[in-house]
Structure formats: structure tokens, C-alpha cells
């Protein structure tokens, strides 16, 4: 099969020093190792405490972006949804939403990657690095979900 594999970015964000808030980071770290084991150069990972405007510049290099974040919402264990650009601002503009970053990327860099938002449910947010057991289970499910998605998505662009 000829053609170029799509450039994929897995972007985990949160504060791993605040217990389950680090779920997105841990997912990115696990998948980074998994991709390295497969010698997949078309998949990159990145992490940060939170998203900010400069991430719009980074997104301009990818065909697919998966944002991964911990969630305090009452979701089952994970949610994995298509993300569309949105100009809606957050109350705190020191950090911005993935949809906002996507929108900014389009407005400034004229690029709109396909994007998904993975929410992983967390339960505790104290000044600790150890995740809760429940968060650990949800992380395993999330990692498997993204692995499956990447495998399906990694077909050459002809």
C-alpha cells in the first residue's frame, strides 16, 4: 500500500500532581510508549497542565488530534466524541477549551484537523500523584479505546 500515514497527535492535559486530574497526561504517556514500541512515527503525543492559545500553532501540523482530559462529570467511565470548533470562551482565559483551540487554529493557521475529545472520569483531586482505583480502571479502558481508534485510523492517505 502506498501513501502517507495521517499525522496524529494525542494531547493529554491536566495536573498529575492533583490525583485524578492527571488522567489525560497518563494516557498520553502510556500511548507514547505503545507508539514507540510499534515504531510509529506518524503518531505524536504532547502534554501540558492545560491548553492554551499557543497550542493552535501546534495543531496546524496534524491531520487528527485526540484531546484527553480528566472529567468531574457524571459520565460512565469515558466519553469519546467528535470535537467541532467553537468560538465560545471559557470564564478563565488563562486556559482555553479544546474546541476553542481548534477554532483558533482554523482562524489563524487556516487548518482544521479532525479532532476528538476523550474524557476520562476521575474521582479525587487532592495534592497527590496516586490515582484512585476507579480512575485507574477508567484509564485502562480509555487507553484501549484510543489504541483501537488509532489502529483503525492509521491507513495511508492516498
Amino acid at each position: 500500500m502506498t501513501g502517507k500515514l495521517p499525522n496524529i497527535l494525542i494531547y493529554g492535559y491536566g495536573n498529575p500532581g492533583r490525583q485524578d486530574d492527571g488522567l489525560g497526561i497518563r494516557l498520553a504517556e502510556e500511548l507514547d510508549q505503545w507508539c514507540a514500541n510499534h515504531h510509529w512515527q506518524h503518531v505524536s503525543t504532547d502534554t501540558n497542565y492545560q491548553l492554551n492559545v499557543e497550542d493552535a500553532a501546534g495543531l496546524a501540523n496534524y491531520d487528527l488530534v485526540i484531546f484527553a482530559d480528566a472529567s468531574r462529570e457524571n459520565i460512565q467511565s469515558i466519553s469519546f466524541d467528535r470535537l467541532l470548533p467553537s468560538a465560545k470562551t471559557e470564564f478563565t482565559m488563562h486556559a482555553v477549551s479544546p474546541a476553542f483551540i481548534l477554532h483558533l487554529c482554523h482562524e489563524i493557521f487556516n487548518h482544521k484537523p479532525e479532532a476528538y475529545l476523550l474524557h476520562i472520569r476521575g474521582y479525587e483531586w487532592e495534592f497527590m500523584e496516586e490515582m484512585t482505583e476507579g480512575a485507574g480502571r477508567n484509564l485502562v479502558e480509555a487507553v484501549n479505546r484510543v489504541k483501537q481508534f488509532i489502529l483503525e485510523y492509521s491507513t495511508p492517505i492516498v
Binding site: Y49, E54, A57, M93, E107
Partner: protein, 484 residues
């Protein structure tokens, strides 16, 4: 019927804040207050942890300015390991830390000006809130938006090159730094393409100042008269009076520029500064002991630094500093919106400093760490983007932390922000039957000038919806609105 209006929290400000405005029966402002929901768990959390963990551990406090906490804690730990109080490090140790710090100032100030402040300036305080954000800026002033994004990105690259990684950076360690700058990192930051080089950053910093000065000429009402109140100002300055964002002595001047805190060694800060607790706020109110609780409060941050410093040791920023001083008649500026002007001068200064440091061979070779005789107590101060940041620790004989006290920049600015809220509220809301979004944003603009990080000040987690409450004279809630 009197009313109490609550704006909660403040938009485009980190964390959770609430503004209550009490109106009397005639619609006049009776009282305004900025409330902060404070969570002081962190000082307790670090007790019992080994001191050497602090520079990394404190980054759990806040994802907005982890570098400032990292460096302030490292400076305190320098004292504990006997490496001096900011002047005893090796040239490599001090200069690498300074490079990290100027990167932090550069990116943080750029974020504030381009993405938090410029929408208000470009579109007006009472313009359509759907347009009044960086997307609106991108649509109508694309160059400004691009500059803001790339300047922020450049500052983050400087941090990554010095701290080692974006999350829980480990660059600064007790007594020094844990890495040199590589040739590759230096060349990338000096000569990177696609805008990512220091000369472009200096040029854009100058452009931003020109943009502001042009705006100022045409909008003196907003910049000069929107909020102004007498205040003292406090910051670190270098021993010779120069602006120094990383280290120095602690100086305060009063509203006329007279020194009221005389270049003290900050290891003794608690002899001069105290924190008052007020029943209606969880955030403390710092004040100078000698002047007292009522009048001893002070402003910190970029404006305070322009007011306490005598000169700037980089040529381009010095020229802008002279213009700033000249405009204010050589006296301290007490105009809150001049905070933006001061912030832009600091962006330029930081860019110039980054260039100086990148050309300094000490960053690429030399001893990284120094240690001496251990002490059981240390204070680390730094001029964080938002103002003076205090970290104070004591350890036991077993090297574990026994006491920690943090006074973050936003806490230092607690009273000035309350003053600003009150003045703007009186100006825009007095006698008005209906409180509009534009009026609420005017109050927020005054707060935003201080760039408060309430996440940091409150050590809280997460975001809250905007809540708007109206109370009558009997303190009964008669209206509540949320903005999501």
C-alpha cells in the same frame, strides 16, 4: 429597596472570584467587595515532606504560573542548603534560572496583553461579548493574534529548554540548576525560523508597545482615568535600584514615590509585612506593619515595579521606561490601566534579557550547583508576572518541612483590586436601573488589569460558572444569573 449585586466569578481571570456590589435605595453604591474562595490546604500538605521536593511539589499549586512557584521555592531551598540568598549560586545556576524566569514573564505577559486585555481595548468594554475575545481579534486584527500566539509559544520554548519539561519541570534544584543549555537549544531560540527567534520577539514586543501608545493617545479616558486611586507600591529591586524580576531587595514607595520600605533583605520580610484576615473574604490582606492595617496595603506587579525601580538595565526597555516616567511626571502611576503599559515594557525587557543570556557562554558550561552549611529556615522571593511571590519554609533536623507560608501575587493585590472594583462600580453603576453586561465587564476590566490568578491565590481547582446575584436591603436574594 437596596440591592446587592454579585458577579461570580470574574471572566478571563483564573479560578473562582466573586464581586458583590451593594446598592442603596437610591441606586448609589453602598459597598463593593471582591470575594475569593480560599483553600489553604497546600501549606499543610507540604509539612512532613523533604525540603528538596519543594521546587517540584509546589508546581501542583497552579497550572498557570508553575515556573514562578518552582523558582521561588528553589530560592528558599538555596538558603536552606547554604547556597546563599540568590547571589551565591554559580554563574550558570543563576543565569539558567534567570533565563527560565524571563521566558515565564515573556509568555505570561504576552498571553495577558494579546488575549485577555486587547479584546477590551480593540472592541470596547461594552462591545458584544461574543466578539470581545481572541477569536474576534483574529478575525479583525490577524497580525496581532498571530503575534500573541507565537510570543506565548516562544516563551514556552524558553521554559522547556531550561526547566527540562513542560509539566513538573525540574530545572531549578536546591543550590542551582540541573542542566546546561545545549548548543541546539541556544541556536533554536536565537535563530529559529518561522518567527521563532529572539530578534523577531524583540521586534514584536516593540510593535506591541507602539500599538498601545497609539491607542493611549486616542483613548486617554480609558487608560488614564478609568481607574485611579492612591496606593503604595512594593517589589524587589536590584541593590542599585534597577528593575530586577529575579532577585534583589524589597522596596516599597508611597503614592508620591517616597520610600516606605527601605530596600530590606527579604529573609526578614515577616518583620515588615503581616497578613490580615477579614471575615468576608477567605483571601488574606497583606500590609506593611509599620503603617498599619488600614493604610499599609500596597500594589504589586508590573505597575508597582515601574514605580519602585529607578531604571532598567536593557536599552530598549529603558527608553520606554523613561517615556513612562516622563508621562507620569516622575511620580508613581496610580492608574490601574497603566498596568498594561508597564506589562508591555516588561515584555520588551524580558526579550532583551533573553537575548543577552542566550549569548552568554556561562549557560553552556560551568558548575551547576553549590552547597554550604545547612540552615533550618529559608525565604524565597521572586517577581512573578503578577507581582511579588513569597515562599517561606522551615525544616526540622530530619530535613522535613515543618512550616510553609506562601503569599502569592494575587493575595498581595487583594486590597488594590477591591479599591479598583469599588471605583469602577461607583462610576458605571451609580443611579442605573439596570445592570448590563457592559457594566459588569467594566468591573471585570478593572480586576483583569491586575491579571489575578485566583486559582493560585485560592489554591483551588476547577472552574465555576459566572454567577450574578442581586440582594435587597434585607439581604434577601431577589435575582441570580449564571453565565456558562
Amino acid at each position: 429597596m437596596g440591592q446587592k449585586i454579585t458577579i461570580e466569578p470574574v471572566t478571563r481571570v483564573e479560578g473562582h472570584g466573586k464581586v458583590t456590589i451593594h446598592l442603596d435605595n437610591e441606586g448609589k453604591i453602598e459597598q463593593t467587595r471582591l470575594h475569593i474562595v480560599e483553600f489553604r490546604g497546600f501549606e499543610r500538605f507540604v509539612q512532613g515532606r523533604p525540603y528538596w521536593e519543594m521546587p517540584v511539589l509546589v508546581q501542583r499549586l497552579c497550572g498557570i504560573c508553575p515556573v514562578s512557584h518552582h523558582l521561588a521555592a528553589a530560592k528558599a531551598m538555596d538558603v536552606i542548603v547554604g547556597a546563599g540568598t540568590g547571589e551565591g549560586l554559580t554563574p550558570t545556576g543563576e543565569k539558567m534560572r534567570r533565563l527560565m524566569h524571563y521566558g515565564q514573564i515573556f509568555q505570561s505577559h504576552s498571553l495577558h496583553f494579546f488575549h485577555l486585555a486587547s479584546p477590551d481595548l480593540l472592541f470596547g468594554i461594552d462591545s458584544d461579548p461574543l466578539k470581545r475575545n481572541i477569536i474576534g481579534v483574529a478575525l479583525e486584527h490577524r497580525d496581532l493574534a498571530v503575534q500573541g500566539v507565537m510570543m506565548r509559544k516562544y516563551g514556552q520554548e524558553v521554559i522547556q529548554a531550561t526547566a527540562g519539561k513542560k509539566i513538573h519541570g525540574t530545572g531549578a534544584i536546591p543550590g542551582g540548576i540541573n542542566k546546561h543549555l545545549s548548543e541546539e537549544e541556544r541556536d533554536f531560540l536565537l535563530h529559529g525560523d518561522d518567527y521563532m527567534n529572539i530578534d523577531k520577539m524583540i521586534s514584536w514586543s516593540q510593535d506591541a508597545l507602539e500599538f498601545f501608545k497609539e491607542y493611549h493617545k486616542k483613548n486617554k479616558g480609558i487608560i488614564d482615568s478609568f481607574v485611579e486611586f492612591p496606593s503604595s507600591h512594593l517589589s524587589l529591586v536590584r541593590k542599585d535600584g534597577a528593575l530586577d524580576l529575579y532577585h534583589g531587595v524589597l522596596r516599597a514607595v508611597d503614592t508620591d514615590g517616597k520610600k516606605i520600605l527601605h530596600d530590606i533583605d527579604y529573609q526578614d520580610y515577616d518583620r515588615y509585612i503581616n497578613e490580615e484576615v477579614k471575615s468576608w473574604s477567605y483571601m488574606k490582606f497583606p500590609y506593611l506593619k509599620e503603617i498599619g492595617k488600614k493604610n499599609g496595603w500596597y500594589t504589586v506587579g508590573p505597575l508597582a515595579r515601574m514605580n519602585t525601580a529607578e531604571f532598567i538595565d536593557t536599552p530598549l526597555a529603558q527608553k520606554e521606561f523613561e517615556l513612562f516616567k516622563q508621562y507620569n511626571g516622575g511620580k508613581p502611576s496610580n492608574k490601574s490601566m497603566h498596568m498594561h503599559w508597564a506589562r508591555l515594557i516588561e515584555i520588551l525587557h524580558s526579550a532583551e534579557k533573553i537575548k543577552q543570556l542566550l549569548n552568554d557562554p556561562d549557560l553552556m558550561e560551568g558548575e551547576l550547583v553549590i552547597k554550604g552549611t545547612k540552615c533550618l529556615e529559608g525565604v524565597g522571593l521572586i517577581e512573578a508576572p503578577r507581582g511579588t511571590l513569597f515562599h517561606h519554609y522551615k525544616i526540622g533536623e530530619n530535613d522535613m518541612i515543618t512550616m510553609a507560608n506562601l503569599i502569592v501575587s494575587t493575595t498581595n493585590n487583594n486590597q488594590p483590586m477591591n479599591e479598583a472594583v469599588n471605583q469602577v462600580a461607583v462610576k458605571v453603576m451609580t443611579g442605573k436601573k439596570e445592570i448590563t453586561e457592559g457594566m459588569m465587564n467594566a468591573v471585570e476590566v478593572a480586576i483583569r488589569a491586575y491579571d489575578p490568578c485566583l486559582s493560585c491565590a485560592t489554591h483551588a481547582l476547577g472552574q465555576m460558572p459566572l454567577e450574578f446575584e442581586v440582594y435587597d436591603a434585607d439581604n434577601q436574594l431577589i435575582e441570580r444569573k449564571f453565565k456558562h
